[in-house]
């Protein structure tokens, strides 16, 4: 029987090794899988490469993982946001690497990682410092940059509803990077606010087909990052 449910966030992340590339969903706090990230903090893996649009805020969630010195390198489009101080500190101190990628290129590199496309051409970043050192090529009358797919060993994603096959739906703009990060990872781990019976999700409305998901954890009442930050909380 196919049953991708895991009993806890802790159980779902036990085998994530040092040095892994980990994609973490979310755009700001929307879609950030804070309980899975905290489980990863408890678990102890280090020397990680993290792919995520931002770098977290305050001292919880992704920012806490970074604060623990567990992230060797960030691949993201927007590493500074309101209430983000952990990453800037470490970056200025030369203690964390940054690969800055335009947001659409980041999204497409992740999508290609899941879709078996090793590389593609995009107009984005041509004639800017972010294209420096990259191969360019003219198609028609425009110049494009060659960009490579990103794949992950693990992805941590937050969704709204899941079934035991791993079919997912999301909540509004929390969808963001979730579907493409599930597909781009060897092992996608998803925290779901609801776990429902097979067939409860309309097959026309499944956003992430279960084939892209390996593990599902029930987190019925996920924390709000902004609330934790406002309360001055830190993790652990």
């Amino acid at each position: 029987m196919i049953d991708k449910r895991f009993e806890s966030a802790a159980a779902a992340v036990t085998d994530l090794p040092d040095g892994a590339t980990v994609m973490i969903g979310g755009f700001g706090e929307a879609g950030s899988p804070i309980e899975l990230i905290h489980a990863l903090i408890d678990q102890g893996a280090k020397d990680l490469t993290v792919v995520s649009n931002n770098t977290g805020s305050g001292r919880v969630g992704l920012a806490a993982l970074i604060a623990q010195g567990r992230v060797r390198k960030m691949i993201c489009s927007f590493p500074r946001t309101a209430n983000s101080m952990v990453f800037p500190e470490l970056y200025r101190a030369g203690r964390i690497e940054l690969e800055l990628v335009p947001q659409g290129t980041l999204a497409e590199r992740i999508r290609c990682g899941g879709a078996g496309i090793p590389a593609f051409y995009t107009p984005t970043s041509v004639d800017t410092p972010l294209a420096e050192g990259k191969e360019t090529r003219v198609f028609g009358d425009r110049t494009y940059v060659l960009e490579h797919a990103i794949k992950a060993d693990f992805s941590l994603v937050k969704c709204k509803r899941a079934d035991r096959y791993g079919n997912l739906t999301y909540n509004r703009t929390a969808r963001n990077f979730g579907p493409i990060m599930c597909a781009a990872a060897e092992i996608a781990i998803v925290q779901a606010a609801d776990i429902v019976e097979l067939g409860s999700i309309d097959p026309e409305c499944v956003v992430t087909p279960g084939i892209f998901v390996k593990r599902v954890v029930h987190v019925p009442d996920p924390a709000h990052e902004s609330r934790l930050v406002a309360e001055g909380r830190s993790y652990p």
């Binding site: 029987m1 196919i2 999508r111 990682g113 899941g114 879709a115 078996g116 496309i117 079934d163 035991r164 096959y165 079919n167 597909a183 019976e197 097979l198 067939g199 999700i201 097959p203 026309e204 499944v206 087909p209 279960g210 084939i211 892209f212």
Partner: protein, 220 residues
């Protein structure tokens, strides 16, 4: 099914499908090609659950619906009526082939015109002038699925071997086949060559070798 007098019978088509199904692990995502491969769906071994993918946009394909309940817009890659199981989902073609090309399909079972000693597969065109070439999703599947099983009669109707030293028909993919299920034997494409893993009842190795266009390694 009638056969030429001098062709040994071995397994029936249904038995070939059943034998292949036995080698598919529990929990696999499986894509079934048109023809004999479609029969595999009838033989899910007890205790296992497979999820069938059809490249025209459905994961969780179920059996042929009862007469009168067909929907012309719920079909498989062979354009036959199918159903959708609870837990199924629909998606568009680019997403469907992202599943294939991105190596998310565990097993693909396909038919064959020729298979070479090294696992090259030809199953889309005879290359004859005047033939209308049609490839569909075969080239994506053979390179995308993690494991490629081929189910085929061991020879053509005129007893020409289909398992050959080198394919003479245009290739679908090079070094892509993992195992071959024919009416005579189960054959693995191994690094050292084509290895007969299992013989059909009443079939001996020499008989299989005689109907094969390349040297086989004997049963272990």
């Amino acid at each position: 099914m009638s056969r030429e007098n001098d062709q040994p019978a071995g397994w029936t088509r249904l038995q070939m499908a059943e034998r292949a199904a036995l080698d598919i692990p529990d929990g696999s995502y499986v894509n079934l090609g048109i023809g004999i491969p479609e029969l595999v769906a009838q033989f899910v071994p007890p205790g296992r659950e497979f999820i069938y993918h059809t490249e025209n946009g459905l994961l969780g394909m179920g059996p042929t619906p009862p007469a009168g309940q067909e929907d012309v817009e719920l079909i498989n890659a062979g354009k036959k009526y199918v159903s959708a199981i609870p837990g199924a989902c629909f998606f568009h073609h680019a997403d469907s082939f992202a599943m294939i090309r991105g190596r998310h399909i565990d097993v693909c079972v396909l038919g064959a015109m020729q298979i070479s000693r090294e696992g090259d597969l030809a199953n889309w065109s005879t290359g004859e002038p005047g033939a209308i070439p049609a490839v569909g999703g075969a080239m994506d599947l053979v390179l995308g699925a993690k494991r490629i099983l081929v189910i085929t009669e061991h020879t053509t109707k005129s007893l020409e071997p289909k398992i050959v030293e080198r394919c003479t028909y245009p290739l679908t993919g090079k070094r892509v086949v993992n195992a071959i299920y024919t009416n005579l034997a189960v054959i693995d494409v191994a690094p050292q060559g084509l290895a007969v893993r299992e013989l059909a009842p009443g079939i001996d190795f020499e008989t299989v070798q005689r109907h094969t266009g390349t040297r086989l390694l004997p049963t272990r």
